[in-house]
Symmetry: C2
Subunit: 339 residues, 2 copies
């Protein structure tokens, strides 16, 4: 077992490692949701002055990175790495967003788990002494995602109750070895879990087993229990996936009921916003972490949070070729006190 | 500057960190190339018994991972992470290749720079004490790449002289904190460089400035010079890109002429194989590293190698929307003696 490993999938961060700034920019629909006041910027329309949805998504991330850096008090020279990815083919939102930054880039693909994937890797790089500061960021966009993964928006296809609504938004954080918390204290890296779900309008069910696997593994690896957390939150399972995840975790002997929710459940108003099972997309967990979770930790409402980004590893090609949807989930412990 | 940083983009690995095994599996065309004897397996046709090119690519990676593990003498339990990615939309070659492995996955997207990106991250994770062993792997496939990035193969589109041929193959390595070399000693992480090239049939020109930037930065950061290396090798610039890269590096005062080549130049026989400017794709640098470079280092022909994976960060969508092709390149120093 490597020195800093606690069990098979979890590492313990050895030195204080803080989130020193966050930023989030969201679309108009998200701006009408229950978490509205936590976002830095709500854009007025999905194009944001750009000529395509893809370019708008890229601008969301570019401006988010700029805000993260400005709010951190750091300069471009202080930042060693950007760790980032998105849902678009070949991660073009990311690549065009950070093109002019002049900062070393590690491009990631973890589908909607990218927010926690990037923080997990960034935490190890900083704690290992290879960086002082790293920006971890991701994005998604309802229109570019529907166009790429499902049907042209112009078709107005009917959505089943299990369908989720891709969040238009970019969120991210600055990690630093200086700072006063919230601290990243554990990283539980996910493995792929595939229960054979093939319905790309039921991503929550496809990802729930992976989320449950990571949550249970985290408890086993660390010896922590649901009582040690005041919030356990998955990335974008939506209401169907959330319930399924809770059920699987419960069957394995961990009662998370009172602590557990999902960013996809929180991000929209289920009654008023017609988003069916809730929010999804890389941006869903990213803007909720950068907004609601971070700010409520800063206020002391939450002191110990298990944040589990969840990704569905499909493409339209794999779906058309009859493949099921593999899921993955990466867990992070965020704590107001270090050690 | 963080403890282990040597200059802005380069880190020095502190403890002996070896490549303890490699594997490569290639397509029939690559099997007829000059590096034929270095590959573990040459498959007989591009489908390899699968029902689609994408599934064949995924099988290439799955079998390569299996060989890397077998040759390392390690068990699945010994491996802390797989770091992997590929060119297909949403990295499906990777996700379906490692689905059943049960090993924690960090999914990456660095286009054709993925081989060096994965080793760079893996090296920092291991040297930071977060892992003992990690598999770093990537793949590409001529047919799945042409279908996705350019034209249907059935069209038989004419290829300009600058066009490259995507390598069908998967290659990878096992990194370990135990072993007797070759050692990873420096990691120079690339930033995006974009000189405005828009021709997706001239990827070499699009990537050459990024490769040159990383090579020059590596020399400046480390104080090393071309004389310290007996091989400097880029990933997949092809012959046009190779010449352009050499010219840019030379203009900045570093004469790499006698040491420098490119995996895309080596992988096919230019006269006999009609591949125009040479090989490309994630698999190009991966199978050349796993085969030719690793084996010739083991024999002592090369003792100090600068390996620079090169990626073109485009998608067909960004190309259709008039965007240029951003490039990125990640550099690694491989040495037979540590420190």
């Amino acid at each position: 077992m490597p020195t800093k490993h606690i069990g098979k999938q979890t590492v313990k961060i050895q030195n204080p490692l803080s989130i020193i700034s966050t930023a989030s920019i969201v679309g108009p629909k998200e701006g009408e949701g229950p978490l509205s006041l936590y976002y830095d910027v709500v854009i007025e329309d999905e194009m944001w002055g750009e000529k395509s949805w893809e370019k708008a998504e890229s601008k969301l991330m570019r401006e988010t990175v700029s805000k993260i850096i400005n709010k951190s008090g750091k300069t471009i020279e202080d930042i060693n790495y950007i760790l980032a990815g998105d849902l678009l083919n070949q991660c073009i939102a990311t690549n065009f967003a950070v093109r002019e930054s002049g900062i070393s880039l590690y491009g990631l693909y973890g589908a909607c788990s990218t927010m926690s994937e990037s923080i997990g890797l960034g935490a190890m790089i900083i704690d290992g002494g290879f960086a002082d500061n790293a920006v971890c960021v991701t994005s998604s966009h309802f229109c570019s995602a529907e166009k790429q993964f499902r049907y042209p928006l112009e078709l107005g296809s009917q959505r089943p109750p299990t369908a989720q609504w891709t969040v238009t938004g970019s969120g991210g954080v600055m990690l630093s070895n200086q700072g006063i918390g919230p601290y990243i204290t554990y990283v539980t890296t996910g493995k792929i879990v595939d229960f054979g779900i093939k319905d790309s309008n039921n991503m929550g069910a496809a990802m729930a087993p992976a989320a449950a696997d990571t949550i249970v593994t985290h408890f086993k690896d660390t010896g922590l229990s649901p009582e040690d957390y005041d919030l356990i939150i998955t990335g974008d399972l939506g209401s169907f996936g959330r319930d399924l995840c809770e059920e699987i975790v419960n069957k394995q002997g961990y009662d998370i009921k009172d602590k557990y929710t999902d960013c996809g459940v929180l991000v929209y108003n289920k009654e008023k916003q017609d988003t069916h099972s809730g929010g999804s997309g890389c941006g869903c967990s990213a803007v909720t972490l950068a907004g609601f979770i971070y700010q409520e930790m800063k206020k002391g409402k939450f002191n110990n949070v298990l944040f589990v980004g969840t990704g569905a590893l499909l493409s339209s090609t794999s779906a058309q070729q009859g493949e099921s949807i593999p899921g993955i989930a990466h867990g992070l412990t965020l704590q107001n006190k270090f050690g």
